[in-house]
């Protein structure tokens, strides 16, 4: 009986760790997308400046 409880607790603990990792991974993907977006924007402005010259 006790073992069943322990098993359930251990499984709950690793699932929580996984949830936290999912969160971290999602955030790091969002950050990467932000970085790229800013990069593309800068490129556009740069090209626009050149065109004007």
């Amino acid at each position: 009986k006790g073992l069943e409880e322990m098993r359930a607790q251990y499984i709950k603990a690793v699932s929580k760790i996984k949830r936290d990792m999912l969160c971290y991974i999602r955030e790091s993907k969002e950050r990467a997308a932000e970085m790229i977006k800013a990069e593309v924007l800068r490129e556009r402005q740069e090209t626009a400046r050149k065109m004007r010259k």
């Binding site: 098993r7 251990y10 699932s15 993907k29």
Partner: protein
């Protein structure tokens, strides 16, 4: 750039599969232990 994001997507899917595999392994092993005792 787009390639970079694509790779990020692939890497995150891969790591998730790994995490799930470890959790499944724990579930199976502990199930065996419970049955044993």
């Amino acid at each position: 750039a787009a390639r970079y994001l694509e790779e990020e997507e692939l890497r995150s899917q891969h790591i998730l599969e790994c995490l799930n595999a470890h959790i499944e392994e724990l579930k199976k092993d502990s199930e065996k232990t419970v049955r044993q005792f």
